[in-house]
């Protein structure tokens, strides 16, 4: 029970601590995050990073102003594919939060997405990645033709948290030319 309480305490208190969040809150180009260095007890430092991407079968970076395809799901809903790469974070138990909101009024057009999923790794990589997450959009009209903010936050098992936001646009997948995410 004591250990259980400890977990609950971590959950409740961490938002108050600050200093672990590597996000500067700005809109950026979606490249690897370079802020928020973590200093470890042995004096070493690391810089947790998060990179935004798309596509269903391979990581395709998403840059500022990119256009994403709105997919028609087989169960009648719609979604955009979101992929992420992290660096210097625990890939095993990361909590991933995604959202797609309108820049004009902040309206959140995506369904709640707050999951814990493992990131894939490879000995040859200096990153870990999670490919092909479906961010569901209930009302296509809320996103088509709009300036949108795609936000991703990853919090690892050590409560190191990194957030990235990038401005994107969304069109129906069939209207998207080849070569784009």
């Amino acid at each position: 029970m004591e250990t259980r309480a400890w977990k609950a305490a971590v959950w409740l208190v961490l938002p108050l601590l600050g200093g672990c969040n590597a996000s500067d809150g700005s809109i950026d180009a979606g490249g690897p995050d370079t802020g928020g260095a973590i200093e470890h007890s042995d004096g070493s430092t690391s810089q947790p990073g998060l990179e935004l991407g798309s596509s269903v079968d391979a990581f395709v970076p998403v840059a500022e102003g990119d256009t994403l395809g709105l997919q028609r799901g087989t169960q009648g809903l719609q979604h955009v594919w979101v992929s992420l790469r992290i660096r210097d974070m625990d890939p095993a138990r990361a909590t991933i939060e995604l959202s797609l909101s309108r820049e004009s009024d902040g309206y959140t057009a995506s369904e709640p997405f707050r999951v814990r999923l493992p990131f894939a790794t490879d000995p040859g990589w200096d990153y870990a990645e999670r490919i092909g997450m479906q961010l569901v959009v209930l009302e296509p009209e809320a996103v088509l033709g709009q300036d949108l903010i795609l936000t991703a936050r990853v919090t690892d098992s050590h409560e190191v948290s990194v957030e990235r936001r990038t401005r994107v646009h969304v069109v129906w997948e069939e209207e998207l030319g080849g070569g784009l995410p």
């Binding site: 029970m1 250990t3 259980r4 400890w6 609950a8 959950w11 208190v13 169960q75």
Partner: protein
């Protein structure tokens, strides 16, 4: 939102510890600069195992009229010690970690309790399962009221439900996860919170009712006094002329009870009236129409009970079973002749209900060109939403919403083809059927109903091939088999007119562009026999 007292105390203890660590939640070990050590994320790491709550030491919650929240985390819990019976994925061992919440029902007298793990604290991919128990160590055996709650919706794996209890009772919530094999997009353990809401609940008092066997359908109607006005469904057993229970499902026993939800909200106020329409019931390994079984068994009366949205059940009442003939549009209706579904009896004549009349007027025309030399087609995409519909097919139960199209068949010799067997239909289990008169189900065209293209779940899309269709305007319905459970489901429909050729005409041996009236198109000559 609040936590239990015990959780709150422990959380404050944790605050002290965390502050002393001085910061970032880091575990004190250097994070590798390159490469990442990857434990198997599908299983807990090798660190210390958390203890979980149990029947011996549950998380104790004293309820209030209103909502209390319990925050927990089963991430590193022990394998679930409690056998949940048929609840969750019972075929997988070890079971996912479990939390046991002992909830003291507030107030006095009947209380309705609603609970949900669909909260901000529960990860959206945590496939929670909640079992409700009255005795912590006792596996619920009854099928009614429900005790196992899994997915909230088809797209949300979290859980919610209701129960009825008495103030002062202790109800146990076993919060765990569904262990899918393999776990891919969901998890069976993790942080969660469960919100538990209680209110005083009036038990419905059943005051009247009737069972009507009309054609293929059986209507069960019940009226009850209930200050909450939250009637939800009816329980029925059927008796023969001697007052003995009948064997509905043919298994040799007469202990057959139907539990049915009402078609929709009950009438406003108290007393309220609710009605459910029953078509098929399980009969052996197959299905049978309830109305046919009641006729065959000579059912004379039924014993009814009603229940509310918290599954609180009324006392019993015995009501008559009546057998009524079914008639169509324009026919005379009276005490022994009822209009088919979609029609109503007005001045002793069957006419479309306003809703059906409106839906028929709003049917979308599919303008299929009149063929000259080859088959002509129109493709239409759409979705079917949740909710109740107005029309019923003959070959499948289609209580949900429908898409209604009108198709004009010109004079001449044509086949009418319709199919949903396209990618745009996705996984939707479609039903197609064709009527000559939109509102009247008795006018369904012979052979004009298709459920599955290939049975056994091989291809659940639909296809009609109607030959030599007479000139006229027909109504084509696109439905989902059963109700659409969550969110809209898509379909892609193609409707075609295929010319039927006379002897000697040039034809397509493949039979796609045309069909010969007198036999197969001769491959060698491409001429109709």
């Amino acid at each position: 939102m609040s936590t239990t007292q015990s959780n709150l105390v422990l959380a404050l203890a944790g605050l002290v510890v965390l502050t002393s660590l001085g910061g970032c939640g880091d575990d004190g070990e250097a994070t590798p600069d390159t490469g990442i050590d990857v434990p198997d994320a599908s299983t807990p790491d090798a660190g210390p195992t958390m203890t979980t709550s149990s029947c011996a030491a549950p998380i104790e919650v004293v309820g209030t009229i209103g909502t209390v929240s319990v925050v927990g985390d089963t991430t590193d819990g022990l394998d679930g010690p409690l056998d949940l019976g048929q609840c969750g994925n019972f075929e997988v061992t070890p079971r996912a970690p479990q939390d046991v919440i002992a909830y003291t029902v507030p107030g006095t007298g009947p209380v309705g309790v609603t609970f949900t793990t669909v909260t901000d604290e529960t990860l959206t991919n945590f496939d929670t399962v909640v079992q409700v128990r009255r005795g912590c160590s006792t596996i619920p055996e009854e099928t009614f009221p429900p005790s196992c709650f899994d997915d909230e919706t088809r797209t949300d794996p979290r859980s919610g439900g209701t129960l009825s209890a008495t103030g002062g009772d202790i109800v146990y919530f076993i919060v765990t996860g569904y262990t899918d094999t393999p776990l891919t997009d969901t998890i069976d353990r993790g942080p969660y919170s469960i919100e538990i809401t209680a209110r005083a609940n009036a038990i419905p008092e059943l005051t009247g009712g009737e069972v009507r066997a009309i054609g293929d359908r059986t209507e069960i109607e019940a009226t009850a006094i209930d200050e909450d006005r939250d009637g939800y469904g009816v329980i029925a057993t059927f008796l023969d002329g001697a007052g003995a229970p009948v064997d509905l499902d043919g298994d040799g026993t007469a202990e057959d009870t139907l539990f049915m939800l009402f078609n929709g909200p009950v009438t406003a106020g108290s007393p309220w009236t609710g009605m459910t329409t029953v078509f098929a019931i399980r009969f052996g390994d197959a299905a049978a129409l309830l109305a046919d079984r009641l006729r065959a068994l000579g059912a004379a009366t039924a014993t009814l009970q009603v229940f509310d949205e918290h599954w609180a059940v009324s006392g019993e009442l015995t009501v008559p079973v009546r057998f009524i003939d079914e008639v169509g549009l324009g026919a005379t209706c009276d005490d022994t002749h009822a209009c088919v579904m979609g029609l109503r009896c007005a001045a002793s004549v069957c006419e479309p209900t306003p809703a059906v009349a409106g839906a028929c007027v709003a049917a979308i025309p599919l303008a299929v060109d009149t063929p000259t030399t080859a088959t002509t087609s129109v493709t239409q995409t759409g979705t079917l939403a949740e909710g109740d519909g107005l029309f019923e097919a003959s070959c499948a139960h289609t209580p949900g919403t429908e898409s209604v199209y009108s198709v004009a068949v010109p004079s001449g010799s044509y086949d009418l083809l319709a199919t949903t067997d396209f990618d745009g239909t996705g996984e939707t289990d479609t039903v197609l059927y064709l009527r000559s008169v939109c509102a009247d189900l008795l006018t369904e065209v012979a052979g004009g109903c298709s459920d599955d293209i290939t049975s056994g779940g091989v291809n659940v899309r639909s296809a009609l091939e109607l030959r030599d269709v007479a000139e006229g305007t027909y109504t084509l319905f696109v439905e989902n088999f059963g109700h659409v459970m969550d969110g809209p489901v898509p379909y892609e429909l193609r409707v075609s007119l295929r010319p039927v050729l006379a002897t000697g005409a040039s034809c397509d041996p493949a039979g796609r562009n045309d069909r010969c009236a007198a036999g197969a198109c001769a491959p060698g000559t491409s001429t109709c026999p």
